[in-house]
């Protein structure tokens, strides 16, 4: 685990940060959907180890059922988008039966149009943002990519934070010492002001002994 991650772990309110990051990601999906007047917007995290996309945030169609759902990451529009690092708009997908079926199986909804954006952070692929059935008549086509791009940029940053939260959580789960430290931090943050001052004095004594 990197130092900054450990610092985050030991910082008061790290669990709250994690919740805030997930809420922020969901908020980006909802804002994008609203701004595009779209039927749905999803932000999908790439799980490299399992070669799958995981729905981390969904607004609109599928928002009640899609979070946490997975599908193979090296096929279809989303897979191509991320592998090629190229964004794409596809209209009238319903004319291509196999594609519509693929999308339906992965999202639970058959769209007419789809905007797919690769989410890249620090040179690494982190996921994909998809907007389904947008209704920006004057911004259709290539203009839609320009419109969605800033939202995708936000999603890239927050998705990386969510991934870091998860990595930290898994590291704590797997490491007894870190679990102990996390429990100590949690107990410390729950103390009253008076008891916290006492605890700080004790910790200073321990540090001197070390």
């Amino acid at each position: 685990m990197e130092g900054q991650d450990l610092a985050l772990l030991l910082g008061a309110g790290s669990a709250e940060n994690g919740r805030a990051h997930r809420l922020l990601l969901q908020s980006i999906a909802e804002t994008t959907r609203a701004a595009c007047v779209a039927q749905a917007c999803s932000i999908q995290r790439l799980d490299i180890a399992r070669r799958e996309f995981v729905f981390e945030a969904v607004a609109g169609q599928g928002e009640d059922s899609m979070i946490g759902r997975r599908y193979p990451s090296d096929r279809g529009i989303a897979g191509w988008t991320l592998l090629s690092r190229q964004s794409i708009v596809v209209d009238d997908v319903s004319v291509e039966p196999s594609f519509a079926k693929d999308v339906a199986e992965s999202t639970g909804y058959v769209p007419r149009s789809i905007v797919a954006f690769p989410l890249i952070k620090d040179d690494a692929p982190v996921g994909v943002m998809e907007v389904l059935d947008y209704e920006l008549d004057e911004e259709r086509g290539i203009g839609c990519l320009e419109f969605v791009a800033p939202f995708a940029g936000q999603a890239s940053i927050v998705l990386q934070l969510v991934e870091r939260d998860r990595t930290v959580g898994e590291a704590v789960e797997a490491d007894a010492e870190l679990r102990e430290l996390a429990a100590l931090t949690s107990a410390f943050s729950a103390l009253s002001e008076e008891k916290r001052q006492t605890a700080v004095r004790l910790l200073r004594l321990i540090r001197e002994l070390m």
Binding site: D74, L83, R85, I88, V90, E96, P97, I120, P125, L145
Partner: protein, 278 residues
């Protein structure tokens, strides 16, 4: 597949008169002004060999027809990536879309597909390098790359291969990003980088005097071939790029042996915002 000049590296010439690549035919004289009619010849692209590095191409798609070769980068048991003949076709539809655009502009050119997408994310950079190196070995006239990589360690090798391609007259046509993402190879001066304009004319080329994107072609609501003989309407720079590849196939079909430098100059001179596309 008949290999080209062997290897994917340069034979160097140090003095005027050294000609390790063989004497390529050159136009006896250059017309003035350069017109689309002269540049594109009969517009068929006959004689030009175009390689598509992408997701594969669906054989005998109505908008593509027969292609002259299908290959894929595969991983051996020892973990090495190699290029082998392929029967799987297109794993996504995007490569078929690119092929359909190139065919619409240069119906008689040869098209050879190399699937470089499909090994997953760990192997994607290596697959791209392996596919491009193989394409250079085959000495294709045009190499369409509607894709890019953000990996710096891959970019270094790509940079070298793009230079080799430039000097060996293998023209790389690469998609630019439409967002401020640092990716490659489109940022290299040795390739032709392509973005999108919003006009519906597939033959309209626009020169950009403020690179790194050098040319814009049709990338907005483009009707393309897709999987299972289907069609879709797509937008993005990755669809503008094969328009320019098709134009390059026309030029090289009519004027074999032009260097990338010369082809880029011809493209500039026939751009709609330079000469009015005369």
């Amino acid at each position: 597949m008949t290999p080209g000049r062997g290897g994917a590296e340069l034979s160097l010439s140090w003095r005027l008169g050294d000609d390790p690549a063989g004497t390529a035919p050159q136009p006896a004289s250059w017309p003035h002004p350069i017109s689309k009619e002269w540049a594109w010849g009969d517009g068929s692209g006959a004689g030009a060999r175009v390689c598509i590095l992408d997701s594969g191409v669906e054989q005998d798609h109505p908008q593509v027809g027969p292609i002259q070769g299908a290959y894929a980068v595969q991983e051996t048991q020892g973990g090495q990536s190699v290029v082998t003949e392929d029967t799987e076709g297109d794993v996504c539809g995007h490569g078929t879309a690119c092929a359909s655009i190139i065919r619409s502009l240069a119906p008689a050119c040869e098209i050879i597909s190399v699937r470089v997408l499909g090994l997953g994310y760990f192997g994607s950079g290596e697959a791209l390098i392996t596919g491009l190196r193989w394409a250079l070995e085959q000495d294709f006239d045009v190499i369409n790359m509607s894709l890019s990589t953000t990996k710096p360690e891959v970019a270094r090798t790509l940079y070298h291969l793009a230079d080799v391609a430039y000097f060996r007259r293998n023209l790389i046509v690469a998609s630019a990003h439409n967002t401020p993402i640092e990716s490659f190879p489109w940022r290299f001066a040795s390739v032709i980088s392509v973005g999108s304009h919003k006009q519906p004319d597939p033959e309209l080329l626009v020169y950009n005097p403020a690179p790194p994107v050098e040319f814009f072609a049709r990338g907005d609501r483009v009707p393309v071939g897709w999987l299972n003989g289907g069609e879709m309407v797509c937008s993005g720079n990755s669809f503008a790029t094969p328009h320019v590849s098709g134009m390059c196939a026309r030029i090289l079909g009519a004027h074999g042996g032009l260097t990338p430098y010369q082809v880029k100059t011809v493209l500039h001179l026939i751009a709609g915002n330079v000469t009015g596309g005369t």
